[in-house]
Amino acid sequence: MKDVVKYGVAVGLYIALGLVTKRFLTWTWGPFYFIVVLEVLPRSFNRLRHGPGAPKPFSESFASSNAIPEL
């Protein structure tokens, strides 16, 4: 549910920015907007607040699934 709200805000922002500026990202760049808004910016903001640190580790369930053995 938390994800749905976050994603809804990101989609809403995309639509508003597009309609106001008359600039719409193409399919080659569009997905990067969501990675920047939903991952890069919040992480940078957290880093500014709490200082530099390693990227958030994978959840236990993700790591224990052996999906990414290099971790």
Binding site: Y7, G18, L19, W27, G30, I35, K56, F58, A67, E70
Partner: protein, 290 residues
């Protein structure tokens, strides 16, 4: 052309391939026909002819293009899941683009006849904004909505974080772990990257639809072959009988060509290919779908 359907289709395909094809491979395949050509389409004198015709770059919207590209990827990377993903994604794009008036040449070079069901007008000659406004004033908008609903209703599970962990990542461990290490994306970041095309498709569909309704105020004409205010861009003046005959001949020759390729080099390439540990392939269609 389709504006958001190509994004949504990736997730619908994912539901049916499971771990047997790479999701990222499917995405590359879906975008492959337009990847190197789209920037030039709007600048072309005859956009429809350049985009879908021959002479032009219409061969990118043919089955043989996806087949040969997938074979090249299999040869270079030995990854079966990437080769399959690219093949399925590219073929899905070709089939989707049959719906506009320009159509595609599915069996190029054995048939250069454009096949189309003319559901909406190919409007690239109007420039990017005019194209978008035309598409979202026609049945194209319904087509995008249809694929959005198909994903949300029938393939909703592929958007879950748990599905991403259990199926999508194990099917393509190398690339996802590379993204984690090199791009320093967290688990949440990888999940956002996976869902990004779905979110982008949704945002794109709504924003262009609103742009057409409230900015350029084009009339919404949901008739077959609409919108009426745009000129048609049919690339073929042949009757449907001629199109059917030529396309059937092209299809038979294409099938023979694929068989020949399979016998001469395809089978060998496939055998030396590598699968992720979780993949158990069956025979026939079960080699690609679960």
């Amino acid at each position: 052309m389709s504006w958001a359907a190509h994004e949504f289709e990736n997730y619908f395909i994912q539901k049916h391939v499971g771990v047997k094809a790479s999701f990222l491979g499917v995405c590359v395949g879906t975008f492959l026909p337009d990847l190197f050509t789209k920037p030039f389409v709007y600048a072309a004198g005859n956009a429809a002819q350049f985009h879908r015709g021959w002479p032009g770059v219409g061969f990118t919207h043919s089955f043989i293009f996806g087949f040969l590209f997938a074979a090249l990827v299999l040869w270079l990377t030995r990854s079966r899941s990437w080769a399959l993903g690219i093949l399925i994604g590219q073929w899905a794009h070709v089939l989707t683009d049959v719906a506009d008036t320009a159509g595609v040449m599915p069996f190029f070079p054995f048939s250069t006849e454009n096949v189309s069901i003319s559901m909406w007008k190919h409007a690239a000659s109007q420039g990017r904004f005019g194209d978008a406004a035309g598409y979202y004033s026609s049945l194209g908008s319904v087509w995008d909505l249809f694929w959005f609903v198909m994903v949300v209703v029938f393939a909703r599970k592929v958007l879950h974080a748990d599905y991403f962990r259990r199926v999508v990542v194990p099917a393509d461990v190398k690339v996802w772990s590379w993204m984690h290490r090199r791009l320093r994306l967290s688990e949440n970041g990888l999940l956002v990257a996976y869902r990004a095309y779905f979110l982008y498709g949704l945002a794109r569909m709504i924003s262009w639809f609103l742009f057409a309704r409230f900015d350029v105020k084009t009339p919404l004409q949901l008739n077959w072959g609409g919108p009426r205010y745009l000129p048609g861009n049919d690339l073929s003046s042949a009757s449907w009988v001629e199109v059917t005959i030529r396309t059937t001949i092209g299809g038979v020759l294409f099938a023979a060509f694929v068989c020949l390729c399979w016998i001469t080099f395809g089978r060998r390439l496939w055998r030396r290919g590598i699968d992720p540990p979780v993949v158990v392939r069956g025979v026939g269609l079960h080699a690609a779908f679960h």
